[in-house]
């Protein structure tokens, strides 16, 4: 009942309707819209859209650049690593070589000094031998001389046995001195 009356009330306003078309309004809407389109296109859309494009390009470029830089850095790092490895190997090699050389040098020196010392000892032995022989020879000569002198003296004073004995004792004591 109520709803029917309500609809009736709405319908009773027949002089104005929601779907009445007002030509003036249509004209003004179109005029306003076209003016708005022209003004905005010139003062808003063109600068804003071009700025957006520019920024997008700038960001894209920056990202590409960053990517490139990163790749380059990676490459550089790799190269550095390779070089470091090489240098390490080199230093290891040098160390090894120097160690080997030192070892060899040490061995050589040792060998040489051993030989030298052996030679020196040999020399010293020979020298000793020579001196000994020399000493023996001189001793022998001395003894022979003494013996001859003694014999001479004995022969000179060979008067009696007493004197002989005395003489012998005297010489012996002299020798003993």
């Amino acid at each position: 009942m109520f709803s029917y009356m309500y609809i009736g009330l709405l319908a009773s306003e027949s002089s104005v309707s929601l779907i009445d078309v007002n030509p003036g309004l249509i004209v003004w809407t179109i005029v306003t819209f076209i003016l708005l389109l022209i003004i905005l296109k010139k003062f808003a859309w063109k600068p804003i859209l071009s700025a957006l494009d520019q920024r997008e390009n700038a960001i894209k470029e920056a990202l590409e650049k960053a990517d490139k830089a990163k790749q380059e850095a990676q490459l550089l790092l790799q190269q550095n690593q390779v070089q470091i490895n090489k240098a390490e190997e080199e230093s290891k090699k040098i160390l090894q070589q120097s160690r080997e050389y030192a070892e060899k040098l040490k061995d050589d020196l040792l060998q040489k000094s051993k030989e030298e010392s052996a030679r020196l000892r040999e020399d010293a032995m020979q020298e000793i031998e020579r001196k000994k022989n020399e000493a023996f020879a001189s001793l022998r000569n001395e003894v022979a001389g003494i013996a001859i002198q003694a014999a001479e003296k004995i022969l000179k004073q060979n008067i009696d046995t007493d004197t002989n004995t005395k003489l012998v004792n005297q010489y012996l004591s002299e020798i003993n001195k």
């Binding site: 009942m1 109520f2 009356m5 309500y6 009330l9 709405l10 009773s12 306003e13 104005v16 929601l18 779907i19 009445d20 078309v21 007002n22 030509p23 003036g24 309004l25 249509i26 004209v27 003004w28 809407t29 179109i30 306003t32 819209f33 003016l35 708005l36 389109l37 003004i39 905005l40 296109k41 003062f43 808003a44 859309w45 600068p47 804003i48 859209l49 071009s50 700025a51 957006l52 520019q54 920024r55 700038a58």
Partner: protein, 286 residues
């Protein structure tokens, strides 16, 4: 209980009818008229202009409430977007504040509406779509401010906007396909020959139903919320009781919040569908 409520309503309706105070005020409020009312501060009456350069037009071309708010909204759009665009001068690419806000909407229209629906060559239609979007958006939101009116809830305005889309669609279609080929391609290929006359009729009708639907959709959506809010508030006076006020206000507030959402969504939908129709016309199926 139920009959009691019905009786009360019946009596209330009978009262209002008797007083000659019917619900026409709702229509009066949501419809266009020649006065800008700022109750209780006063009213501004617009002049009626029937003649232009001495030529009788046969209709009133003077400003109305909706024309006033249309101009206000157009002015707002121009001022705000020009300010927003100023930041990009001198090759400055860093957005800030207002530019940032509008940029979100512009990029949204460009990347979510124009690019996917039109595809290649969308740049040509972007100014139209952006203008339509911001014009409708500002109109919808302007209507939510007290004392103002929603010019997008006027069928004349939406019809004019829809016809602009129609023109853009036909223009775009003819431009990218050539006028003859465009109309030839309207009829799908590979259908039986005897169906072609029928299809021509259907497709021609389809050309006009698309903008018609655009027009009605925006109009109905924008007027519905306001009508419901007015009806809910009117219920307090209609039923002669203050106890219905909390319910009325609560529901009216809810509808108002919904209206904020609808204002944005309808601007989006109008632009989206316009873009879709343009895209369909530009890249016809072969």
């Amino acid at each position: 209980m139920n009959t009691q409520v019905a009786d009360t309503l019946h009596k209330a309706v009978a009262d209002t009818v008797a007083k000659g105070n019917d619900s026409g005020w709702i229509l009066h409020h949501v419809m266009d008229n020649k006065t800008l009312s700022f109750e209780p501060f006063g009213e501004i009456h617009f002049p009626v202009i029937n003649k232009l350069f001495g030529y009788n037009l046969g209709f009133d071309i003077g400003p109305t409430k909706h024309i006033f708010f249309m101009w206000l909204s157009a002015l707002l759009v121009v001022v705000l977007l020009t300010i927003a665009a100023r930041r990009y001068r001198n090759g400055n690419l860093v957005p800030k504040g207002l530019s940032n806000f509008f940029e979100i909407l512009i990029v949204f229209v460009r990347d979510e509406i124009a690019k996917p629906t039109i595809g290649k060559g969308y740049e040509k239609f972007l100014p139209y779509l952006l203008t339509a979007f911001f014009f409708i958006l500002f109109g919808n939101f302007l209507g939510l401010i007290p004392y103002s009116a929603t010019f997008t809830s006027n069928i004349s305005v939406t019809a004019a906007l829809a016809s602009m889309t129609f023109i853009m669609t036909q223009f775009g279609g003819m431009r990218s396909n050539g006028p003859l080929k465009y109309f030839k391609n309207l009829v799908p290929h590979g259908i039986p020959v005897f169906l072609i006359p029928l299809m021509v009729g259907v497709e021609l009708l389809g050309l006009f139903t698309k903008p018609f639907a655009l027009c009605i959709r925006l109009f109905a959506n924008m007027i519905a919320g306001h009508t419901v809010i007015l009806a809910l508030i009117g219920l307090i006076f209609f039923m002669h009781t203050v106890f219905v006020a909390p319910v009325s206000i609560g529901f009216a507030l809810f509808i108002y919040l919904l209206e904020i959402l609808v204002a944005l969504i309808q601007a989006y939908i109008f632009t989206m569908l316009s873009s879709l129709f343009i895209g369909m016309a530009v890249h016809q199926e072969h």
